[in-house]
């Protein structure tokens, strides 16, 4: 149900009419800027039909008035003179849509942030300049293609362990169906990464309760995918057999498996954190002197927060179990994030010693010789039990990354879109990431990220998925079918279509415009950021400034 939109390559159409709504933002803007003069300036601008100023544009009464003005019929676009698009776009784009106006025809002129701090005369001229620029920009905009995507209420989860199970359970609770593509023979229920195990038989219970909403495909792999949020088709294989699984969203929830001592140079009898964990769970009697060496022999290896996480938690448990034991943790650096930081402090209070050392401690007659980083002195620490890190392997990460063309981080784990702001997203919309095989797990354990990923997938599928907007469009007459856009786009939105020319899938396009800038035949334009628009804007701002 694509709305009719003029092509991004055609001439820029003339606007029916522009509405200008000026906000004094409770007086902040009007304190410095004469809104009366802005109103006059706007009213004199070609094609401007209605100019109104409000104390607070974004408040109920003003919104109602603006809506009425928009419904009047001779306005097909408007400029909100007030604050930033980031602050106001949701509200006004919704308003536009409800009034039958394409939301991409709303322009924001951010006087609040960019003008209000100037001295009075300067603020005024800056504001007038910005208003002219915004009006110029507004009149050049054109209706963008938009369509609502169909939504398959199934999520494909790729995983082998507790993260996949946790994500699946959350998704099932959200009323969605789940297909698990599991590269191993059986989903691993125990969680090596935390002391607290999942309740026994969770998987079995889940499977029973969910019925045909939950399918686990053991021994399968993903090969490739097509599609977009709401409708993905993932090619799955089992041995020689190949088929497609359809889903609305995808969660990659691979966990690390397996363990093997890191420190080959240590004597037999050294145990791993995982083995210690088993002893702690079994409430085994612990020896007097426990030393954890949370480091990798390879000095250049990525310093994993999981290493600190394990050591902190296990040292606390060991101390709790056997308060007379002396527990020492040695590492190059301690990475205590989130809850782990609390644990780190608590462990210290409980008497666990943390020693930083750049060098791997040497073993000497039942003791370890540690070189303390702060003093430079060697310290002899009696050691009845030496605990080293788990060596875990990412399971099939590379293959999955290849199937989805996702980048791998330096340590071979899958890279997240943004570790700070989008920790469970990949850069591809609709494809989420959790599990211990994704980039560092910040101590909250994989369950947390699995729940987060499931929640992102569920909220995606529970609301309308609109595609389009300021997307790229190919002019087939100009296209040289050179593949530059296909190679350039990080979202795989362009492809060569049946006609032998590039086509952009608007459901995948994020509107960044890299393809348009790199197209050697100038065959790609981006709605609202067409070359002629950009050039016109450059000319107009400089001309204006020059006056």
């Amino acid at each position: 149900m694509t709305e009719k939109s003029p092509p991004a390559h055609g001439p820029i159409g003339s606007p029916e009419g522009v509405g200008v709504f000026i906000c004094s933002c409770g007086g902040i803007i009007s304190r410095k800027i004469d809104l009366q003069r802005l109103r006059a300036l706007a009213a004199a601008y070609p094609n401007v039909r209605d100019v109104v100023s409000f104390d607070q544009c974004c408040q109920g009464p003003a919104m109602g008035e603006i809506r009425l003005s928009l419904m009047a019929g001779d306005i097909d676009r408007f400029v909100v003179v007030g604050c930033s698009a980031r602050t106001a776009s949701d509200r006004f784009e919704q308003l536009a849509e409800s009034a039958g106006i394409c939301p991409d025809l709303v322009t924001f002129s951010n006087l609040l942030d960019l003008c209000a701090a100037y001295s009075k005369p300067e603020a005024q001229s800056k504001a007038e300049h910005m208003l002219r620029t915004s009006l110029k920009r507004s009149t050049m905009l054109q209706i963008t293609p938009r369509s609502e995507e169909e939504r398959l209420m199934t999520v494909l989860v790729i995983g082998n362990g507790p993260s996949a199970i946790t994500a699946s359970r959350s998704l099932l609770d959200e009323g969605l169906s789940v297909v698990v593509v599991n590269p191993t023979q059986r989903l691993e229920e125990s969680d090596h990464q935390s002391v607290i195990p999942l309740e026994g038989g969770a998987l079995e219970q889940m499977t029973k309760a969910a019925g045909d909403r939950f399918r686990v495909l053991d021994g399968t792999e993903v090969l490739s995918f097509t599609g977009h949020p709401g409708h993905f088709l993932v090619t799955v294989s089992k041995g020689r057999e190949k088929w497609e699984e359809a889903s609305g969203a995808i969660i990659i929830a691979l966990d690390k498996v397996g363990s093997e001592g890191l420190m080959s140079s240590y004597l037999p009898g050294t145990i791993t954190q995982e083995e210690l964990e088993a002893k702690l769970k079994a409430l085994e009697k612990l020896p007097k002197n426990i030393v954890m060496v949370a480091m990798d022999e390879d000095e250049t290896a990525e310093r994993s927060p999981m290493s600190t996480h394990d050591a902190v938690h296990h040292s606390m448990h060991a101390k709790g179990l056997s308060s007379s034991s002396s527990v020492t943790v040695i590492a190059r650096e301690f990475y205590a994030f989130g809850q782990c930081e609390v644990g780190y402090r608590k462990a210290q209070e409980m008497g666990v010693r943390f020693i930083r050392s750049e060098k791997i401690p040497a073993v000497d007659e039942g003791s370890l010789i540690v070189n303390d980083i702060h003093t430079g002195y060697d310290i002899r620490i009696p050691a009845d039990m030496i605990v080293i890190d788990n060596r875990t392997q990412s399971f099939g990460t590379k293959k999955v990354a290849k199937a989805f063309s996702l980048p791998l981080a330096v340590d071979g784990t899958m890279a997240r879109a943004n570790p700070k702001s989008r920790p469970v997203a990949t850069h591809l919309p609709g494809i989420f990431l959790c599990g211990s095989a994704s980039e560092m797990n910040l101590g909250a354990g994989p369950t947390m990220s699995a729940k987060a990923a499931a929640s992102r997938a569920a909220s995606l599928l529970h609301s309308r998925i609109m595609s389009g907007g300021n997307v790229a469009e190919v002019d087939p007459k100009r296209c040289s079918s050179c593949m530059t856009c296909v190679r350039t786009c990080p979202f795989h939105a362009p492809r060569i279509g049946k006609e032998g020319k590039a086509e952009v899938d608007i459901a995948l396009c994020q509107g960044c415009g890299m393809c348009a800038a790199s197209c050697p035949s100038k065959a790609i334009q981006v709605y609202s950021w067409r070359d002629d628009q950009i050039i016109a804007e450059i000319s107009s701002v400089l001309e204006d400034e020059g006056q």
């Binding site: 850069h427 415009g513 890299m514 950021w529 400089l542």
Partner: protein, 134 residues
């Protein structure tokens, strides 16, 4: 003085907005052109800005490795480098053009960028095109 900045709307623009809303707004002769991503900025856009009389042009995108679109800012950097060589050949000092990377919460960096470009223009003088045209 006329300085034009192509700013990415996800990081550089919020940074500027943040910086400008404090007591110390940037000089009003600096004009910004909002871009969806600096990866959209093309060589012709920059050249046109100089032709229209800009004394300096900067492109401000996200920190490398932090682009919402993965590598738009890297594409932009490559294009800025190319454009500098074209400016040189056309007869304009390449220092009038620069690429900057800043995060949306690095508003404090914007005045530095402005200062850098302003001092370059002060050193190089105005874009000679203005004189030629009039």
């Amino acid at each position: 003085m006329r300085i034009i900045g192509f700013v990415c709307r996800d990081s550089a623009l919020p940074a500027v907005e943040h910086a400008a809303s404090k007591e110390d707004p940037y000089p009003s002769f600096i004009t910004l052109v909002e871009m969806p991503c600096t990866g959209r900025v093309d060589v012709v856009h920059i050249l046109r800005a100089f032709r229209e009389g800009a004394d300096a042009v900067f492109v401000a995108g996200c920190l490398e490795g932090n682009c919402k679109y993965q590598y738009g800012n890297i594409e932009a950097r490559k294009r800025v480098t190319l454009t500098k060589s074209l400016l040189q050949a056309a007869g304009l000092e390449p220092e009038r053009l620069e690429m900057f990377n800043l995060a949306s919460n690095q508003g404090w960096r914007f005045p530095e960028i402005v200062q850098e470009m302003v001092s370059r223009v002060e050193r190089l003088g105005p874009n000679p095109i203005g004189k030629v045209k009039t």
